[in-house]
């Protein structure tokens, strides 16, 4: 279980998160939605310990990771897998080496075991035959799938996805979502995803949380959020123009 309590973060002249509370049940897929620039990625970076809050706590199975540094924080991170927005693949390595990297360096597995796991991971994401290619030589969709394979190859307990389908065509969006759902069923990890792929995310989420003005405006099962009468939620889900922003324009 991940519990976020009173998370507050400001950058100069910009209060991004304001006393934010959120619970992510173990084994669930929780998707955080919200407008671009609304602080979703900032929230995610707090959950993985890349940012420290001004106030508040991030509890991972009861341990407040905002107070941890060095080895104790790394111990928590060893349970993580993270899929970054752009994939964050190491461009000096082939796709297979990218997937193998955490197995070699993080788990220090023997060479034969690494090769077997890499092969399995690449097949799982449907990328047979591209292992020898470099990230710059494959398409955006393939890069995302390699990033997913790299994040999951160590069989993490908690996986974070930062907009894993941004910039992909609708067919690929559904393919990636299907892949995540399939892997989640097989591996049983807890997933936190940041996305604004509406309505596709309602098909894979166990819980959806709407981030608005630095707080969670609504949270619940996909059906509940889709039926929400909250003005902000309805407006976002239906893609209606923001009258305030319109007036400013």
């Amino acid at each position: 279980m991940i519990r976020v309590e009173g998370l507050t973060k400001s950058f100069p002249g910009n209060a991004v998160l304001r006393d934010l509370d959120l619970e992510v049940p173990t084994g669930s897929i929780t998707i955080v939605i919200g407008r671009s620039g609304g602080g979703k990625s900032v929230l995610l970076r707090h959950l993985i310990g890349l940012l420290r809050p001004d106030r508040g706590r991030v509890l991972v199975d009861g341990v407040d990771i905002t107070r941890l540094r060095g080895e104790p924080l790394d111990r928590v991170r060893r349970r993580y897998g993270v899929v970054f927005q752009g994939g964050a693949l190491f461009d000096s390595m082939s796709c297979a080496d990218n997937v193998a990297f955490p197995l070699r360096e993080k788990l220090r597995l023997p060479r034969a075991e690494v090769a077997r796991r890499v092969e399995t991971a690449i097949v799982q994401v449907g990328l047979e035959g591209i292992g020898a290619k470099y990230p710059a030589e494959v398409s955006g969709g393939m890069r995302k799938r390699v990033a997913i394979a790299r994040a999951l190859v160590t069989e993490p307990q908690i996986v974070f996805f930062d907009e894993p389908t941004t910039g992909l065509d609708p067919v690929l969006v559904n393919t990636i979502h299907g892949l995540i759902l399939d892997l989640h069923r097989r591996l049983g990890f807890t997933a936190v995803m940041v996305s604004h792929e509406i309505p596709e995310i309602f098909g894979i989420a166990d819980r959806v949380a709407m981030l608005h003005e630095g707080r969670i405006a609504a949270v619940g099962p996909p059906g509940e959020i889709q039926e929400s009468q909250d003005r902000v939620v309805r407006q976002f889900i239906r893609g209606e123009p923001d009258p305030v922003a319109e007036g400013r324009a």
Binding site: G49, V82, A88, F90, D91, K106
Partner: protein, 264 residues
């Protein structure tokens, strides 16, 4: 309680104070960065493959430019010093003059400036791109220390390769001076090299060694720091690269004076 706006008269002082605090903070971050890199350098597991890769990247790939600039620096020195010495009838001292200029001063400084331009800038750009594409964050969340994987091997490679490249710069520079002084201007080879043995001592060679070692640390430290903390987007990487080259070059010259005035 909200802060009251400062009177107009005090605002320049406020800006000056903020600038000074910012500068001290930057220096602190700079020092902590080096301390973390040194800690990663001396604690296992050691990244031998990464070190070999960095030695190749910083050293071997800079070899051509070092040999080229070293040769022509020696040739220019040979010509200019010969013309100056010939006014006093002291052409016999061309060899030691060229050798001392190169070994004590020009070799370490020019080699360091050349490597800064070729490898230092590339080092900053590479790390900067890794920063903006979240590759450094990816290492961090894998619980793998980016200092160990990206920074420590580069600084260690700088310590190993700068003295070697400086030595090569000195050797080809002395040969360049020989070509001009002996082959073109008619000085005897025995005079050129014989006087060199008389006047160039171990202290001169050690001074050059200490200089090149410290330049190796300065250049790789500055360039990795700037790349590691590059700002957003292509502009952030471009700015970091420019700052790294300018700061490294300035620090090389400042440190050169300092170390030259302290060591014999």
């Amino acid at each position: 309680m909200a802060d009251r706006p400062l009177p107009a008269l005090l605002r320049p002082l406020d800006a000056l104070g903020a600038g000074a605090i910012g500068a001290v903070e930057s220096l602190g971050r700079f020092g902590v960065f080096l301390a973390q890199a040194l800690a990663a350098m001396v604690t296992p597991p050691f990244r031998v493959t990464a070190l070999v890769d960095r030695v190749h990247y910083i050293g071997f790939r800079s070899l051509l430019i070092i040999l080229l600039t070293g040769t022509f620096t020696g040739m220019v020195l040979g010509l200019q010093i010969y013309l100056t010495l010939s006014r006093f009838g002291s052409e016999a001292f061309l060899g030691p003059a060229v050798a001392l200029s190169l070994i004590r001063e020009l070799g370490p400084v020019l080699a360091a400036l050349m490597v800064t331009g070729r490898a230092g800038s590339a080092l900053t750009a590479e790390l900067g791109i890794m920063r903006i594409t979240e590759q450094i964050d990816a290492l961090t969340v894998m619980a793998l220390n980016p200092m160990r994987y990206l920074v420590a091997p580069s600084i260690l490679a700088g310590i190993l390769t700068f003295p070697l490249m400086t030595a090569m710069f000195d050797v080809v520079g002395i040969l360049g001076g020989y070509v001009v002084g002996v082959e073109l201007l008619g000085l005897s080879a025995g005079t050129y090299f014989g006087e060199m043995r008389t006047f160039v001592g171990t202290d001169d060679i050690l001074l050059g060694l200490w200089k090149s070692l410290s330049f190796g640390v300065i250049v790789t430290w500055v360039c990795t720091y700037k790349g590691f903390h590059a700002g957003h987007g292509a502009e952030g990487v471009a700015r970091a690269t420019t700052q790294a080259v300018v700061l490294s070059s300035v620090l090389i010259l400042v440190w050169d004076y300092f170390i030259g005035s302290v060591l014999p």
